[in-house]
Amino acid sequence: MDAPAAIAARDLGRRFAGRWAVRGVTLEIPASQMVMIHGPNGSGKTTLLRVLSSAISPSQGEVRVHGVPAVEARRRIALLSHADGHYDELSGRDNLALAKELGKMPGSVDGVLDAVGLASRADDPVRAYSAGMRKRLAFARLLLKEADVVCLDEPYAALDPEGHALVDDVLRQLRARGATVLVSTHQVRRVAGLVDHAIRLENGHVAAQVPAAQVSPAALAAAPAGGDA
């Protein structure tokens, strides 16, 4: 019996009051695979990512990470979500130091600060950071954790061109480290070249699951030119 899948979801569903944001999703992502999740706004990308990373619990079905229920495997999962999760009054460095101590994270604070280009502003309160800088700090915390399973929710959003290059670089680093990666994005053409598989979501259901090379031309064409709208 080979190793259990990095992420295994069986008939997954999550509803908010009357609406099923995600329903009937069954997928299995082997370890060290990099998968892109794309689809129109409201197709359930963010909800699916938050359920798979155990940020929110499923209303139906179950998520297993490396054979263990996701909630118990949080130490091995890292999520970059829209909300950056920082404390405004603390400095960038303090936020990372807190995360490192609380989550017993292996990475080095100064190392990740350099990696995301925030070394010069590390000691200013996050309250003074721009949206792009807050996102870089969120990336720094993600790198600090060195998790086996990494979920990125629209990583390119709110970043300048250098930021986009940073995201590409992070994706390559994750590939080199053999992490299992899930990326939800609208940058379909750009990310298709960096991942192994692509899953297309349409109003809460998996519409297509193909190797990255065969992503449909329509989807590629649909990718917006600029950042993640």
Binding site: R15, F16, A17, G18, R19, W20, S59
Partner: protein, 215 residues
Amino acid sequence: MKHVWASGAAAVLLLSVGTYIGFFHAPVEQYMGITQKIMYVHVPTAWTALLAFTAAFVASVGWLWKRAWTWDYLLESTIEVGIVLGCLLSVQGALWAKPTWGVYWDWDPRLTSVAVMVLTYAGIAALRSFVDDPVKRATWSSVASALGYVNVIFVYLCVKWLRTLHQPQSSPSTVDPAMVLPLRINAFGMIFLAIFLVALRYRMARARRARELEA
């Protein structure tokens, strides 16, 4: 549905019989005179209000343990009925205290505890109205309800202690056996009425949740 209407009918019957006996057959209490007759509606309301809040506590523990929607419907209905009965009890308490003590509110530990419970559960009803997600609404209001119910013991003790420093105990002590009958009839009457009200409100909660949760 038949048994709900039956419970309502039983309530009306019992309350009328109990009140009739209480007024015309039970002896007039030697010390308190006529005002003691308020007891036949006041004490049953008190028991039923406490029963309703206890049912709300059971419902919240039920939801936190089993996460079955019936507990949430029960919580929603017992809160509403409990609040109305609690408010009614406070008004009755005032109408009883004025002729007996010359003041509308004499900080009787039991009455004050019920009044604080009404405030607590009114806060919980407000919480329920400000949370949109049904699951969170059920869980958070159950947590608040459990905390609020456990707290009532402290409220009773503190008020009772605070009062014994200032005023002697004010509740009637001896109850003439002839007075027990109307009291008990009315008590069952009020309980059946509460069951009728809770049952209706339960079905309303179920209908609302069905509309809220339909895909």
